[in-house]
């Protein structure tokens, strides 16, 4: 059984790799299997997670029934009104609930974490008089470079002011900073992804073909 599993895994692995040469029937079969099996898998996992664990155990068989959960079930059923085109407008109600509630939640979360707290971090990042004693000049300079980067980077994102003159120059410096960041994270990811490929090659050569180890 384990051997069969390895063979199936290896054949599917090769099927995906064949896509690198070109789109071909083997890849198409692999892709079709992947779509079907994964859609089924998640349907089952979500079913047991939300309908069974949350709703059935929480609101139907529990000793202390969470009656509020029925509200969710009703909204969910309303969503199914989309199956018939004449009633599909009803589905906007649960949708309005989801969009409204999450817009409210995210508005506050991002206001605090991406807005207010970032002001505090920017202030803390820049070297303060009290830190000067223990740091090298390069470190102190670095903190001012950070400040320049934040200021110019934000200036780049201004939409309602023309990028001209000193403002334009600042925006230009801002985009330099952005590009360095993008390069750095690209390089960083390149290096970490190589190990995934090594892992698959090891599976093919080791577990399947057994030519190594």
């Amino acid at each position: 059984m384990e051997l069969l599993g390895i063979w199936i895994g290896a054949i599917l692995t090769l099927g995906i790799f064949s896509f690198l040469y070109k789109d071909n029937p083997v890849y198409k079969v692999t892709e079709a299997i992947f779509i079907g099996v994964s859609a089924g898998y998640y349907a089952i996992v979500y079913f047991f997670d939300s309908i069974y664990k949350k709703f059935w155990l929480g609101a139907v068989v529990a000793a202390e029934k969470d009656l509020m959960l029925y509200g969710g079930a009703v909204l969910g059923l309303l969503f199914l009104s989309r199956l018939y085109s004449k009633t599909s407008w009803i589905a906007r109600w649960p949708l309005a609930f989801i969009v409204g509630a999450t817009a409210g939640l995210y508005m506050m979360t991002y206001f605090v974490t991406n807005g207010m707290n970032q002001v505090a971090s920017t202030i803390s990042d820049v070297a303060q008089k009290s830190d000067l004693a223990g740091s090298s000049w390069a470190e102190v300079l670095g903190t001012y470079v950070i400040l320049v980067g934040v200021v110019t980077g934000l200036i780049y994102f201004f939409f309602s002011k023309e990028h001209k003159g000193a403002f334009g120059a600042a925006a230009k410096v801002g985009i330099w900073f952005l590009m360095v960041t993008f390069g750095a994270s690209f390089g960083y990811t390149v290096m970490s992804r190589m190990s995934l490929l090594i892992g698959r090659m090891d599976f093919l050569l080791g577990d399947w073909l057994r030519i190594i180890n």
């Binding site: 998640y42 605090v112 505090a120 920017t122 303060q128």
Partner: protein
């Protein structure tokens, strides 16, 4: 996200347990010199207990003045034990142990009855604090305090700065939107990625090939996806006008349902309801890599002239964009997922970076209503810059200018909820 929020509620309980363990361990390990007799230390004074402010209830804060033998006097105190009881006479139970030098303790629990250490609201409690010494048998108890009961508050006072900032931002947005409504011209700088959208649709029409619109892995509750819906509605309208075809493969079923509505409405607005095909927007699977595999397949089989990626993207960003290069498509991308922006920048023709994605919906429609909010965003950015610069100056120089209270300016922005 939600689970983390939930977890925070239990943090107090865990913290309490952790403290008990550490200090009981410390207390157990301090060698007791059998010959030396430890005298009971001076008890703590000024003990007060009150409901913890700005919280969900189920929490009582105890304050006291340390024993005179703590860090001075006989120097015999190693910590304090906080005791609680339901009646003034006792019996008292340990609810926490804190190290020497402490003056305050928060006795809190989760809001769920039945959890460890649950503290019911509106129930009277009495507190006592013992000054502990290295010898577990030698300690002095303070006078009891109470009754005190906990209750939840309806406003978190720690969030005043946030409240003001939100109000100012909302007012600014509404102001600029209504100014724009009255016909005030608002300048917005050009965004290359947005201007390319029209050309790209035109190109698809000329070539007679479809347009592929990808939402990525976002759900309908991601703001990036909501912004993307507006972009899709503009794109779909143009597509309907030019009579090109559109393919929208979806990862999230709710996103699929919404996108179907969006595209259908766009076709109706363009006056071509009959051209709308139900399967233009379809669900694939909610497994990340199976979805990528399917979209890659679509690219090589349908050869779209233009690929538009707008929304939340993860590791699939480069896989999609590189396959798009093979199919010879013009590619326009926009995401708020910082780690993926570099891949789009490298492999796509145009990329909307972060905030530009949220601005895009306003740009595409050039509707004054939406443009107005861009102005408010700019003011908010300016405010962030000014406040940060002011804060840096305040931290460094406020003390010298005799305005020490300003030195803690940045604390205003440190919001922990």
């Amino acid at each position: 996200m939600f689970s983390v929020l939930k977890m925070k509620k239990y943090l107090g309980v865990f913290y309490l347990i952790a403290l008990v363990v550490i200090y009981s361990t410390i207390a157990a390990q301090v060698p007791v010199d059998a010959t030396a007799v430890v005298h009971p230390p001076a008890p703590v004074t000024g003990l007060t207990a009150s409901d913890t402010d700005s919280d969900h209830g189920h929490s009582i804060t105890v304050n006291w003045k340390p024993s005179t033998d703590d860090g001075g006097g006989a120097n015999s105190v190693i910590g304090y034990r906080i005791m609680r009881s339901n009646s003034p006479e006792g019996p008292f139970d340990t609810v926490g142990i804190v190290p020497l030098g402490s003056k305050t303790f928060e006795n809190s629990s989760s809001i769920e009855a039945g959890t460890t250490g649950f503290i019911p609201d509106d129930t009277n409690f009495y507190f006592r604090v013992d000054a502990l010494t290295a010898d577990p048998a030698v300690f002095s108890s303070s006078e009891g305090t109470g009754p005190v009961h906990s209750y939840g508050q309806w406003f978190n006072k720690g969030l005043y700065p946030v409240l003001w900032a939100v109000i100012i931002f909302t007012v600014l947005t509404v102001m600029f939107v209504s100014a724009a409504k009255k016909g005030k011209e608002l300048y917005v700088r050009p965004l290359a990625g947005i201007e390319a959208v029209d050309d790209a649709i035109g190109r698809a029409t000329e070539m007679g090939r479809p347009i592929l619109y990808v939402f990525g892995l976002g759900t309908a509750s991601d703001i990036a996806t909501i912004a993307s819906f507006t972009i899709l509605s503009r794109v779909a309208k143009r597509v309907a006008e030019y009579q090109t075809s559109l393919i929208v493969p979806c990862y999230d079923p709710i996103v699929m349902a919404v996108a179907q509505d969006v595209v259908k409405t766009a076709y109706m607005d363009a006056g071509r309801p009959n051209d709308y095909k139900e399967d233009a927007v379809h669900f694939i699977t909610n497994a990340q890599f199976a979805y990528v595999g399917a979209v890659n397949g679509i690219m090589l089989r349908e050869l779209p002239a233009t690929n538009i990626y707008m929304g939340k993207f993860f590791a699939e960003s480069l896989m999609l964009a590189e396959t798009g290069v093979v199919s010879g498509s013009i590619q326009i991308a926009g995401t708020d997922e910082i780690a993926q922006i570099p891949f789009f920048v490298v492999a796509c023709d145009y990329t909307l970076i972060g905030e530009e994605l949220f601005a895009a919906s306003a740009y595409l429609g050039r509707e004054p209503l939406l443009l107005g909010s861009l102005k408010a965003q700019d003011y908010a950015k300016a405010a962030v810059l000014v406040l940060a610069l002011f804060g840096i100056l305040a931290v460094n120089f406020a003390g010298d200018l005799g305005m020490a209270w300003l030195a803690n300016f940045k604390e205003l922005f440190k919001v922990i909820d």
